[in-house]
């Protein structure tokens, strides 16, 4: 059963990823992105990570992607659509990307023994691994300082965003 879910979710993620990078219309890209993210959320659930799956849906889909939609809707898409969508370096880009991919696969294969060691260790975690409780304990325990720093980062991002997006006085007049 899990096998099937995995393969179908993988397929969805792959297909919509292609849509994201190939679609002419950013709206379509954004919607495809939502699909990819949803698929990922499903994969997280398979991996016993309920909390992360929830966050994925709430933050990514509910926050970030909606933000994309807002911005896209502000643009005049007509002119954008007329232009060429791909950069002049596309060939070099794809070649180097594939080279990169090959290398990554090489590394994954090279680390197979190490991976198997993990598979055999049989670590059992009570109440499931990624429950809110488990994640919360670690997050607010050992990692409370990075967590606080992250909040500061967010604050900085908010201020930066406001400053960047604010219209200058001249434009207001």
């Amino acid at each position: 059963m899990a096998e099937i879910i995995f393969w179908s979710l993988s397929a969805i993620a792959l297909v919509f990823s292609f849509v994201v990078i190939l679609a002419k219309n950013p709206v379509r890209s954004a919607i495809a992105l939502i699909a990819v993210l949803l698929a990922f959320a499903g994969l997280y659930l398979i991996l016993d990570s309920e909390f992360i799956a929830g966050v994925q849906i709430l933050v990514y889909i509910g926050g970030i992607t909606v933000l994309y939609m807002f911005v896209v809707s502000m643009m005049r898409l007509k002119r954008i659509n007329v232009e060429s969508q791909f950069s002049r370096q596309w060939l070099a880009a794809i070649i180097s990307a594939i080279a990169f991919f090959v290398e990554v696969i090489y590394f994954i294969l090279k680390g197979k023994d190490f991976f198997k060691m993990g598979m055999n260790s049989k670590i059992e975690v009570a109440n499931g691994l990624g429950t809110v409780e488990n994640v919360g304990k670690v997050l607010y325990g050992k990692y409370v300082l990075p967590f606080e720093i992250a909040t500061v980062l967010l604050l900085a991002a908010i201020i930066g965003t406001v400053l960047l997006a604010k219209r200058e006085k001249k434009e207001m007049e």
Binding site: A2, E3, F6, S10, A13, L14, S17, V20, I21, S29, A30, L33, F40, L43, Y44, L47, S49, F51, I52, V55, V59, Y60, G63, I64, V71, M74, M75, I80, S84, Q85, Q89, A93, I94, A97, I98, F100, F101, V104, I108, K112, F115, G118, M119, S121, L129, N134, V135, V138, L139, Y143, A150, L154, A157, I158, G160, T161, V162, L164, A165, E171
Partner: protein, 99 residues
């Protein structure tokens, strides 16, 4: 189902993200491609978390998501600012930072 397959999936998605970043001229789609890459990384983190039964990987995922949110917000704000100034979202046209 092998956890190994997750790694293959994540590397593929990551490469797709790279291609998106390198090829697309629409800055919005470039940003979305970056989201793809980040998600690929998240998946990796969670897989290893599962593998070792260690919740720290998930915690890091939370942080990555946080950073992603911040990045997106600032990135989009920049996009809006660029659009307002240059009336374009074409990344190749924003090339004054040269020589």
């Amino acid at each position: 189902m092998s956890l190994y397959n997750f790694l293959y999936l994540s590397s593929i998605i990551f490469t797709l993200g790279v291609i998106g970043v390198l090829v697309r001229r629409n800055v919005l789609i470039v940003l979305m491609s970056i989201e793809l890459m980040l998600n690929a990384v998240n998946l990796n983190l969670i897989v290893f978390s599962k593998l070792w039964g260690n919740v720290v990987g998930q915690v890091f995922t939370v942080f990555v998501i946080t950073v992603a949110a911040a990045e997106t917000a600032v990135g989009l704000a920049i996009v809006v600012a660029i659009y307002r100034h240059k009336d374009t979202v074409n990344i190749d046209e924003v090339n004054i930072l040269k020589w």
